[in-house]
């Protein structure tokens, strides 16, 4: 299966760098800034135009315990909230670093020129969000992601201007390769030596040679039919890592955001920010009932209000009232909505009602939630200041990702790093809103610094890119052109999305997941035979044909892990195993490729691996009573000084 002209005639551009960052969202840009500041010649490669990565869409804010709105907030409270949100499956060290370093990373953005909304005394304002004990999300209205990505983009430009003054060339130290897709990572022995990709604009190939590659490619949501994610989210980084010999963890945990638009059909899945609830919005069923009070799980009983009166008082007096249950972690709210709809109490278009109109004056809604106002007005003819929205769950975020070292973000493969949504562990079984933007900054920077140190440690001996690997990558990329009369990639994508949505969606059962695995097997055969119309110049059909291979591989990882985990926790709900089991809390499911080669020959293997145990000083941040809901009796017994861990008084904000 070679290109008609033979692949040997194919030419390619070659670029030598110290560090290649794949991805220009928050994680990639922060990593590139760090690598450049460490003196590395750095390339940023991304599939879209510069400044259009997924991060641009983030609305609500970036979580950091700045303590600007409630001075009681600090890293310990943030750490606790993150672990609770992830149902204690998180990599504790990542959660700890994240909580400690997020404030510094957010403040740093101001030195790059960011303009967050302010408190009365001129500091960065912070808003409430689900699962966060105190107002914690630094934000700019409901367009925080735009501010974040633009700020980082402008910082990159300022570094390029610095380099221009010094060298006369803007791109002497950081070069952006926009609309360029990486299809393979290249290795020399067991170490990374570069990457292979194509220009979307003209279909020509490029080879990057570099000893370090940082994956910052974001998520996998495009494998599901109803999603808030864009065409870019085909799980490329996850798949590239697997094929390079790295491992993925926690892939069974996929976050379904409780509030996506449901109507009209063409906008189904588009996100309705959690800020609507953070700012006072409530969820109601078709009977007008504020149903979330019926869905407070045991582990959260202590922190959430049981009556509307108490919940409403919390907005003005959070110290003496418990939080409204609309602000439970996302997995809880999404399941609750799903149950209401199933029970026949849904809205006309199959969601529930989200009401902010009766809760805030119209002018305030327009000021606090301008893009939501705009979005509903323009896309659904709904005026959110006058009537409720209809909302339902939408696939939003993948907790699972490349298994990395907590401090350096290095994967199992020397020279390969991962940061942001493509990495796994930080969020455990469920991510709290706002914890992604901060994650991008904290671990993006760490990955950039660690990659630079690694490159520095190599001295003069750099791993090489061999001609054979380039030839093989070229052949694989051109394969779809050689096939005549095969299927259209778009049809296969729709079938994949439908299967994942129906069979490995928000509520799962063994038989259905098994069915999904069979379907995926079948789709593999179809993808191998996909054919492409047209040429190589900006051809979306070809691009998708290549992305499909990644979508399939990653979907299989999700399904395999979902079948294996016979419990319900966070972003993984098993209808046939509805309980959360302490024994399962100790286990991470790790996926890797056991055989490689052509798509048809790739086999995904699954192993169980212990979740790292929290050291005593972190365990002591929790009440005994709370830990006992998550941990096994043996674990609890084994804790040093367990019996002496007295519960903290409620007022200390446990």
């Amino acid at each position: 299966m070679t290109d008609g002209n033979g692949t040997t005639t194919e030419t390619y551009e070659r670029h030598d760098f110290d560090v290649i960052v794949i991805g220009a969202g928050g994680a990639g840009l922060r990593a590139a800034i760090a690598a450049r500041e460490e003196g590395m010649r750095t390339a940023i490669v991304c599939k879209s135009l510069f400044g259009k990565a997924h991060t641009v869409m983030a609305e609500g804010g970036a979580a950091a315990a700045l303590g600007n709105v409630n001075p009681k907030d600090n890293w310990k409270v943030h750490f606790r909230d993150t672990m609770r949100g992830g149902k204690f499956l998180n990599n504790y060290r990542m959660a700890e670093l994240h909580a400690k370093e997020a404030p510094q990373r957010v403040w740093e953005l101001e030195t790059y020129g960011a303009l967050f909304d302010r408190t009365k005394d001129g500091r960065i304002s912070q808003r409430n969000f689900g699962g966060h004990e105190y107002p914690r999300l630094a934000h700019v209205g409901d367009r925080t992601g735009l501010e974040l990505i633009r700020t980082l983009q402008q910082k990159i430009v300022s570094l390029q201007q610095e380099d221009f003054r010094e060298t006369g060339d803007y791109e002497s130290r950081i070069k952006v390769f926009a609309e360029c897709t990486v299809t393979e990572l290249i290795k020399d022995g067991d170490r990374i030596s570069g990457a292979f990709g194509y220009w979307r604009e003209n279909g020509r190939f490029l080879v990057f040679s570099a000893p370090a590659v940082i994956l910052a490619t974001g998520g996998i949501g495009k494998s599901f039919k109803v999603t808030s994610n864009s065409w870019e989210y085909t799980g490329d980084g996850h798949a590239l890592a697997l094929r390079a010999g790295a491992s993925l963890i926690n892939m069974e945990f996929v976050q379904f955001h409780p509030t996506g638009m449901v109507s009209p059909p063409s906008v189904k899945g588009i996100l309705v920010t959690e800020s609507v609830r953070g700012d006072g919005g409530v969820l109601k069923n078709s009977e007008g009932e504020r149903f979330m009070f019926n869905y407070i799980p045991d582990v959260f009983k202590a922190q959430y209000a049981t009556s509307a009166e108490e919940a409403d008082k919390w907005y003005t007096d959070p110290d003496n009232n418990r939080r409204p249950p609309e602000l439970l972690p996302r997995d809880e709210v999404a399941r609750a909505i799903n149950s209401e709809v199933k029970a026949g109490r849904g809205s006309p278009s199959g969601g529930v009602f989200l009401d902010i109109a009766s809760r805030l004056p119209a002018a305030e809604i327009q000021r606090k939630l301008p893009s939501m106002y705009h979005q509903f007005k323009e896309l659904a003819d709904v005026d959110i200041t006058a009537e409720p929205m209809e909302v339902g769950p939408t696939c939003h975020y993948v907790m699972g990702g490349v298994e990395v070292d907590a401090d350096t973000q290095q994967s199992r493969v020397p020279g390969l790093y991962a940061a942001g949504e493509v990495s796994g562990g930080m969020h455990g079984s469920n991510r709290l809103g706002g914890n992604s933007l901060s994650d991008l900054l904290v671990f993006g920077m760490r990955a950039g610094v660690a990659a630079a140190q690694y490159v520095g440690s190599l001295g003069g001996t750099r791993p090489a890119v061999s001609e054979e690997t380039v030839a093989a990558a070229t052949e694989a990329a051109l394969a779809p052109f050689a096939i005549q009369g095969g299927e259209n990639a778009f049809t296969i994508q729709q079938d994949l999305q439908q299967s994942m949505n129906d069979l490995v969606g928000i509520i799962r059962k063994a038989e259905e997941v098994e069915q999904a695995l069979l379907t995926l097997q079948d789709l593999r055969g179809r993808v191998a035979k996909v054919s492409v119309a047209g040429g190589r110049v900006f051809n979306p059909g070809w691009h998708l044909a290549l992305d499909l291979r990644n979508m399939l591989l990653v979907s299989e990882c999700v399904a395999k892990a979902a079948l294996e985990r016979t419990e319900s926790r966070g972003g993984h709900t098993r209808d046939d195993h509805p309980a959360m089991e302490s024994e399962w809390r100790k286990i991470n499911l790790v996926l890797s490729l056991t055989s490689t080669g052509r798509l048809e020959d790739e086999t995904v293997g699954l192993e169980r691996q212990p979740v790292p145990t929290m050291p005593t000083e972190l365990l002591q941040l929790f009440e005994w009573g709370e830990l006992s809901k998550y941990m096994t009796p043996e674990e609890l017994e084994g804790l040093p000084g367990a019996t002496k861990m007295a519960p903290l008084p409620e007022s200390e904000g446990a």
């Binding site: 879209s48 641009v56 020129g113 303009l115 049809t491 900006f538």
Partner: protein, 259 residues
């Protein structure tokens, strides 16, 4: 519910092209981008188009719909009569790559020519204090999603390739205003816009403001205030003299004030 609509889409590349006719299904609530995607999935799998968010947030899907610059993802099909032909063509001011995709590198080059934010040297991260009212002016401009439609309609460059060199376009003139109004920016930007980015070529037609999907008042809030300040300084003989004397080389070296 669905019906068939007559679409014309420009197809071609830098060597030329033509409008192709399609009859394509349209359903309730759909936007132009949905229809383009349906064409890709059913009739023209290699139809080139840019998009990301499908919610008016990323500024990728700019095109001209019946001759007007629009975000395709925010243009509802219900705004057209069922028998009205919908014609979709690429943004005109920038060179075509293929079909609806144009080469927007002009914008990125201009972005790089605007001197960056200069942070106050004496404030550490975390020490910045600004009032909401003071940040709001620049925040308005930071709503920009870089759809480049304002640059596309501005007549200074729309039909005048030769002006592109000297003119940053409304998007990047606005960036200068944004930095100028930033409460803590330390650079002196009084003349930057006028002398290096072509503010003088703007004759405040407001076409840019009219197309901005973010409803940013580019002309009134960014361009005119900058023009007024430039005029104030220019005709003030003292300032004028001072400028002449203190004027540095064209590549005004700002390294003494930066980083």
């Amino acid at each position: 519910m669905g019906y068939d609509h007559h679409f014309r889409v420009w197809r071609g590349d830098d060597t030329g092209g033509e409008l192709d006719d399609f009859s394509v299904e349209v359903n309730d609530g759909e936007v132009v981008l949905d229809i383009i995607h349906r064409l890709q999935a059913t009739q023209a799998p290699d139809l080139a188009v840019r998009w990301n968010c499908k919610a008016g947030k990323c500024g990728s899907c700019s095109a001209e719909v019946n001759g007007k610059p629009r975000l395709m993802c925010m243009t509802r099909m219900s705004t057209f009569d069922k028998d009205e032909v919908v014609t979709v063509t690429p943004i005109r001011t920038f060179p075509v790559i293929r079909d609806l995709v144009t080469d927007v590198s002009y914008n990125y080059e201009k972005a790089r020519e605007i001197p960056s934010f200069v942070p106050p040297a004496d404030l550490a991260p975390g020490e910045y204090r600004m009032q909401q009212v003071d940040v709001e002016r620049s925040q308005e401009f930071r709503k920009c999603i870089e759809c480049f439609m304002c640059n596309n309609v501005c007549h200074v460059i729309r039909d005048h390739e030769e002006n592109k060199e000297q003119f940053a376009g409304p998007r990047y003139l606005m960036r200068v205003a944004e930095l100028d109004m930033h409460p803590l920016d330390q650079a002196d930007r009084q003349h930057e816009a006028q002398e290096q980015h072509g503010l003088g070529m703007c004759n405040i037609t407001k076409c840019c403001t009219e197309v901005c999907p973010e409803h940013i008042k580019i002309t009134d809030n960014a361009l005119i205030p900058m023009k007024e300040r430039v005029v104030d300084r220019r005709y003030d003989p003292l300032v004028w003299l001072g400028n002449k004397i203190l004027r540095r080389t064209p590549d005004r070296d700002r390294s003494s004030t930066t980083d």
